[in-house]
Amino acid sequence: MTQGMRLPEAKAFVAEKLGVSPADLSDPVIMHEIREKLGLGRITTFEISHPTQAVAIESKFNVEEVLGVPVNSVRRFEERRIGPAQRGR
């Protein structure tokens, strides 16, 4: 949505990055496993406990890294994070 890519091109791009076929992207069985493996965030309605899995903004850091596409909220998170230099250490 930020790159203005037509759908076939976008599906091929994402599939290559994830190591799956474009048709796999809409297969919930395959994608649940891929998302878990890469920490991309999942539908966790029926999984009561998943404390070590990436969720929400954590997942978006992984999405950005896996796809190599900047995610605005992740960039803003990094900007706002106070690093050791700003703390005067």
Binding site: T2, G4, L7, A10, A23, A56, N72
Partner: protein
């Protein structure tokens, strides 16, 4: 006596009627004919009409695209405090409905009223982004009418036009455009700084050609200031109403533009998604409406350089004009748009 089987199907107002395959076929042909005559588009091919007939002459409650042919769904106005807070509703859209994208919006849904509360809206956007994974848009309407009296400062062109005061009506619209552009850019920039993935200029051109001009000018400026922001322009009708009649963008007169030309200007301004609209004729069948919709929008999708997310919802894209559109009508219209038009999303 006609011995053909009758299939349950819908009228544009949602009424369930029973029509034969021949009657549905006749409505499909009539819908295409109207599109060809009015929008000067090519007719649908015979195999496309047959495919539409197979989709609509069926008693199935639900239909869908082939496995692997799924498209992206973007939403105008998901998360409306229906169940909980806006942010919790957006989490529900993502986690329970499996939404591809979600959209934060204020219930007033126009940029002008949002301007006054943008710090709170941007904070809400910030909070939503921390809790979700799906891309988040902020949506609102350009809604140029809000800049005319009694809601805004400029004379009301809708009152001036019936009085024949054309020059004054045009001047009022020209005066309103920069005000609307300024407000839209202000809100979008605040959302970009909060971390939004995209903005949605929804129901663009609702107040006519000057409204569309304002949206395009705002998109151009937002693209310049926020280079990585997704920008969706969703339209309000199949052709741009000439409330002014002479306003232009990039040297093109906006009044009377159909989806293919609208898309070209949206892409030129810097949009990354374009949402064409074809309004429903409530007194015709959904089959008539889908044929008209597909014929009008097909050149737009074929010539597109950016993703096309056609509007398929209450009263547009061959979905019935009812508060709770039946899933048989929604799924048929959605499948038809994917199969025939090859849209990128809905």
């Amino acid at each position: 006596m006609n011995s053909e089987s009758r299939f349950p199907t819908r009228m544009g107002d949602g009424e369930l009627v029973r029509m034969t395959r021949s009657e549905i076929r006749a409505d499909l042909e009539a819908g295409v004919e109207v599109a060809v005559r009015r929008a000067k588009v090519p007719p649908l091919a015979e195999d496309e009409l047959e495919h539409l007939l197979d989709i609509y002459a069926s008693p199935a409650r639900f239909t869908g695209v082939d496995i692997g042919s799924e498209v992206v769904l973007s939403f105008d106005g998901s998360g409306m405090k229906t169940i909980a807070s806006r942010r919790e509703d957006l989490q529900i859209y993502e986690q329970w409905f499996g939404a591809d994208t979600i959209e934060l919006h204020h219930v007033d849904y126009s940029f002008k009223p949002v301007k006054a509360i943008v710090p709170f809206e941007a904070q809400e956007m910030h909070d939503v982004l921390l809790r979700t994974v799906a891309p988040v848009q902020y949506g609102a309407q350009p809604n140029l009418g809000l800049y005319s009296r009694p809601d805004g400062p400029v004379p009301n062109w809708s009152e001036l036009l019936p009085l024949g005061r054309i020059a004054e009506a045009r001047a009022a619209q020209e005066e309103a455009v920069p005000m609307a552009v300024k407000d839209m850019v202000y809100v979008c920039e605040a959302m970009w700084e909060a971390g939004a993935d995209g903005v949605d200029f929804d129901t663009s051109a609702a107040a006519g050609d000057a409204d569309f001009q304002a949206a395009l000018l705002a998109v151009e400026e937002v693209r310049r200031r926020c280079p990585g922001l997704g920008i969706e322009i969703g339209m309000s009708g199949e052709f741009v109403l000439g409330m002014h009649g002479e306003v232009e963008y990039d040297g093109v007169r906006l009044a009377g533009l159909w989806p293919a030309d609208q898309m070209r200007l949206a892409a030129k301004a810097g949009a990354t998604i374009f949402g064409p609209v074809v309004n429903v004729n409530a007194s015709k069948s959904c089959a008539w409406n889908i044929a008209r919709t597909c014929a009008i929008v097909k050149p737009c999708v074929e010539q597109a350089t950016i993703p096309i997310h056609i509007n398929v919802g209450m009263g547009v894209g061959a979905v019935c004009m009812t508060k709770y559109p039946p899933v048989d009508a929604v799924s048929r219209a959605s499948r038809a748009c994917v199969d025939i038009l090859k849209v990128d999303g809905l």
